[in-house]
């Protein structure tokens, strides 16, 4: 089965590049070329903003080009040359984004690294990428690099953005960003022809060269370096920018990890193509406030963020006065009935429209304003399945939230939903220029314009990831709906069967559980077992708030998690999940029979979650083997002692007796009828 927007089965590179793009998009097949063109055609339009000392500072495209040029020429003086890899470690800062273009303008390859990675993980990437230069945000990142110096003989030069705390450091291999720019400025002053020759070199560069290496977060083991070609990356960004009519009038807030493909694609790549303005938050903690101040028109967030936003809204509504609460609930019912229909342009009776209009004035508008969503034209979510109720909540407010499905290897987009054709349980048809087919076991295979050229220094893994005819294996199991929209069920390798042969899709189940605000994380087991069990994490904010209102005293997460009344609440949620599963004959077999509330929160520092906050199911099963055993062994409680890692790297022990509960199941309607 082949779905694709273009009817050619083979996708020659030439075919991709020749596809016409909207005239307002910048010209060029590499990012530095796009920068030069943007600096020409929209010199005075804002390119970047950053809040510093409480004030938004703006750089125009012309100024940004200038900043990049000075830094690039400084880097060159320090020895960066074609083919070098330049690591970029830190948060969303204009200077770090400039580093990308600056390195690319020298035909060096920028390699962003997750800034919250522990030193060891970071050293692995730096070493594997052969990084000789690293541009760090601050002392914390510099310290991590210096701490692993012995493992990183290739790393010669460190550059930092924020000088704080770095005064006493050895200055020989450590330079301030501004000092490097000063070197560039000096070179420009002494050689008037240098600027022109820098631009000439950019224009002469080939789009076939690698543009970046993005390391995967390592959901499935050690992270791999995905090499992305410049021309392909630009072509992909052109398609999606055109697809969503993104123009220079758009504005985004870059708050997602710099090293993640999502941020690099949606903000950096699309920003350079469309020439819109990218704002950087003041600090990671101020994102909510900055969002409100900037009012982005294009927004991306993983389902997790929407989830926590909804939780926060609901909690705050609980604390609101009675009339306000009544008004909120009334208009949310109105929104539920008419909101999505209005958003999708479907017919809605006049009274419904009037009620919705009133709701917009009284509830939705102010709520969107608080969340910073007032100006959103297009919003996407991806990365995980999103709960249908959660999805419709935001859509019914009038936020054009859509789903996309993508991968680092594709340089993001594989599928995306078009405006007006949005559903919660699918991820849309193939994106412009992408061809998708399904392998025998339902695994999704694709070819895309931004497709990677291989894993860095891992040819064997590249071969593994590709089919013989050059499609990339995603590892996700999916099915096509009759209307051509793709539906992702789970990781292909995770989809399993119970001993009675019924289907077990753990992620599907976990997502259903996680939609309850009290449940933060869920891990389910059932493949090859007699029945399904679940380990849950409660949401400390939601449950803590509930505990406060019900006069339940607790000292820690651990204590609250094991509180009998919390168990009661969770048990009701599990029962509700089971009832919903029973409605679907295919899913009825995977009802949860037994569950427990874990005594500690799953944490990336302990390896239980990936850096992108996905559960490592197998690792969790191994780590909590006694608990899994107890779940299936019929015990009512189980003692467990777990080693935990604190943020500073120290280790400690958490011990607890975890209660195990039986869940209420519902007889499947299909079965009952039989």
């Amino acid at each position: 089965m082949l779905y694709g927007c273009n009817d050619k089965n083979t996708l020659g590179d030439a075919a991709m590049e020749s596809r016409p793009h909207p005239p307002e998009q910048a010209e060029g097949d590499t990012f530095p070329k796009l920068l030069l063109d943007n600096a020409r055609r929209r010199a005075d339009r804002p390119a970047m903003r950053q809040k510093d000392l409480g004030i938004w500072r703006t750089w125009t495209w012309a100024q940004m080009k200038d900043e990049v040029m000075r830094f690039a020429l400084g880097l060159e003086a320090l020895g960066v040359k074609r083919g070098d890899t330049v690591a970029i470690i830190g948060g969303n800062r204009p200077r770090l984004y400039w580093t990308f273009v600056a390195a690319q303008s020298l035909q060096a390859i920028p390699v962003p690294v997750y800034s919250d990675a522990v030193a060891e993980e970071m050293a692995f990437v730096l070493d594997h990428a052969d990084a000789s230069f690293a541009v760090c945000q601050d002392q914390e990142q510099v310290d991590k690099c210096l701490g692993e110096q012995e493992r990183l003989p290739k790393l010669k030069t460190l550059i930092y953005d924020e000088p704080r705390g770095l005064r006493d450091y050895d200055p020989e291999h450590l330079h301030a960003f501004s000092a490097v720019q000063a070197i560039g400025a000096d070179r420009l002053a002494t050689d008037p022809k240098l600027a022109a020759s820098w631009e000439r070199r950019i224009m002469a560069a080939s789009g076939d060269d690698p543009s970046t290496i993005l390391y995967t977060s390592g959901t499935t083991g050690q992270s791999k370096g995905v090499v992305l070609p410049a021309a392909g990356a630009v072509a992909a960004a052109r398609d999606t920018a055109a697809f969503d009519h993104i123009s220079e009038r758009d504005e985004v807030l870059a708050y997602l990890p710099l090293a993640w493909v999502g941020d690099h694609y949606l903000n950096y790549a699309q920003g350079l193509v469309a020439g819109f303005c990218m704002a950087c938050p003041e600090s990671p903690d101020t994102v909510q406030q900055d969002l409100r101040e900037i009012g982005p028109t294009f927004y991306f967030a993983p389902p997790r963020v929407f989830e926590s936003l909804l939780t926060r809204v609901l909690i705050r509504m609980e604390d609101a006065s009675r009339p306000k609460r009544a008004m909120f609930h009334h208009f949310m019912r109105v929104a539920k009935r008419h909101g999505e229909a209005i958003l999708d342009g479907r017919p809605v009776p006049l009274p419904g429209r009037i009620a919705y209009w009133l709701g917009e004035r009284l509830v939705y508008g102010p709520l969107k304003n608080v969340l910073g969503f007032s100006r959103i034209r297009t919003a996407y979510t991806a990365g995980e399945a999103i709960g249908p109720d959660l999805f419709s909540f935001f859509r019914s407010l009038g936020i054009n939230l859509k789903q996309l499905y993508g991968q680092t290897e594709a340089f993001l987009y594989i599928t995306a939903q078009a405006d007006g054709a949005v559903r919660a349980d699918t991820v849309g048809p193939a994106m412009t220029g992408v061809t998708i087919k399904l392998a025998d076991k339902g695994e999704v295979l694709f070819k895309s314009p931004g497709m990677f050229t291989g894993y860095f220094k891992a040819a064997d893994k590249t071969v593994e990831a590709l089919t013989e005819d050059g499609f990339v294996k995603t590892g996700d199991a999916g099915i096509f709906e009759p209307d051509g929209q793709l539906k992702i069920i789970d990781r292909a390798k995770d989809v399993g069967r119970l001993t009675d042969g019924s289907l077990f899709a753990p992620k599907y189940l976990e997502n259903k559980l996680k939609f309850f605000p009290e449940i933060r994380e869920a891990v389910t087991y059932g493949d090859g077992r007699d029945f399904v069990t679940a380990m849950l994490n409660i949401d400390l904010i939601a449950v803590g708030n509930w505990a406060e209102r019900n006069n339940i005293a607790y000292a820690s997460y651990q204590e609250l998690a094991q509180h009998p009344r919390v168990a009661e609440t969770i048990r009701a949620h599990v029962a509700a999940t089971n009832r919903a599963l029973a409605d679907d004959p295919q899913m009825a077999g995977m009802q949860i029979r037994r569950f427990l509330v874990l005594h500690k929160e799953l944490d990336a520092d302990d390896g239980e979650l990936t850096r992108t906050q996905k559960v490592r199911r197998a690792f969790v099963a191994e780590r909590y083997a006694p608990l899994v055993e107890a779940l299936y062994g019929g015990k009512t409680d189980c003692f467990i002692s777990t080693e935990v890692t604190f943020e500073d790297g120290r280790k400690g022990l958490i011990q607890a007796t975890v209660a195990i509960h039986d869940a209420e199941t519902t007889t499947s309607r299909a079965k009952a009828a039989a």
């Binding site: 409480g54 510099v142 210096l146 705390g165 006493d168 450091y169 903690d285 101020t286 604190f646």
Partner: protein, 274 residues
């Protein structure tokens, strides 16, 4: 690394510095409240640029000592020399004007005001335009406010509290309130910063953050810091010299290592069998 760097500077403190006139010199000070002798003939000095810790068991007279230093109490006996000038009686506002800032054991902020306003209040002494100018908020008064706001924003940036800039401090968790209080003290650009149990009631992470801030304050602003602290680990890690009080008397004074080995200190903390 910063800790290592600190170690270097600590060992590098030249011996002649010991003979240099101290920033603050307390000689044979005694303080009593009625019959209760809070401090009995204690002498200690604080040298410029050092982090000086005052430790001791409960009721040892630590906070009283701090109150003596910033003029809140004045001792019945003894002399205090600050910046080479002897003084006996001093009002707290005079202490503030002469460059002594402090934080309190139990946070003393303006709870209803925002973080920004609280820190801004630390600039009061540095504002020169009168009440009416400030009221009009035009011309020189506005310029002045902008300049001060800049300094305050630097401090907000320094303490990484951007996210709570406009939150009223009463709603903040304790650890953050402590940080705001430090911010207000820093806003005075003090020569001597007195911290009364800056880490009390904090968890490990908050403590580490606070340690880093204290070290950074010294590095960034060159401020001399005297701190009272219960947490021995913290004290030994960040202080250059430690003075130990017990029942109002000084029982030890020296580098953290010396103090750690001192038998009197061990006895005071662990108790002696009778």
């Amino acid at each position: 690394m910063a800790i290592d760097a600190l170690d270097d500077t600590r060992t590098a403190i030249p011996p002649q510095m010991a003979s240099a006139p101290p920033l603050l010199d307390v000689r044979d000070v005694s303080l009593s409240f009625g019959g209760v002798k809070a401090i009995r003939g204690v002498s200690l000095d604080i040298r410029k640029g050092e982090i000086r810790a005052i430790i001791g068991p409960n009721g040892a007279g630590k906070t009283s000592m701090l109150n003596v230093i910033n003029g809140f109490y004045y001792p019945q006996e003894g002399t205090i020399t600050y910046k080479g000038v002897p003084r006996r009686r001093m009002r707290p506002y005079q202490a503030a004007a002469s460059g002594i800032a402090r934080t309190f054991q139990n946070v003393a902020l303006f709870k209803g005001m925002t973080t920004l306003d609280n820190i801004m209040s630390g600039r009061t002494l540095k504002m020169h335009r009168g009440f009416f100018w400030q009221l009009l908020r035009v011309g020189p008064a506005l310029e002045e406010e902008v300049a001060h706001r800049r300094r305050v924003e630097d401090i907000i940036d320094f303490l990484e509290i951007e996210a709570i800039r406009k939150t009223s401090v009463g709603r903040l968790p304790y650890g953050l309130q402590k940080r705001v209080e430090l911010g207000r003290a820093l806003a005075m650009e003090p020569d001597l910063l007195l911290l009364d149990e800056p880490m009390a009631g904090m968890n490990v992470e908050e403590k580490e953050d606070m340690c880093r801030f204290i070290l950074d304050v010294r590095e960034e602003f060159g401020t001399t810091i005297a701190l009272i602290e219960h947490d021995m680990g913290v004290v030994m890690d960040i202080s250059d010299r430690v003075v130990v009080l017990d029942y109002g008397e000084k029982i030890a004074d020296g580098t953290p290592d010396e103090v750690r080995r001192d038998q009197n200190v061990i006895d005071a903390y662990l108790g002696v069998p009778h």
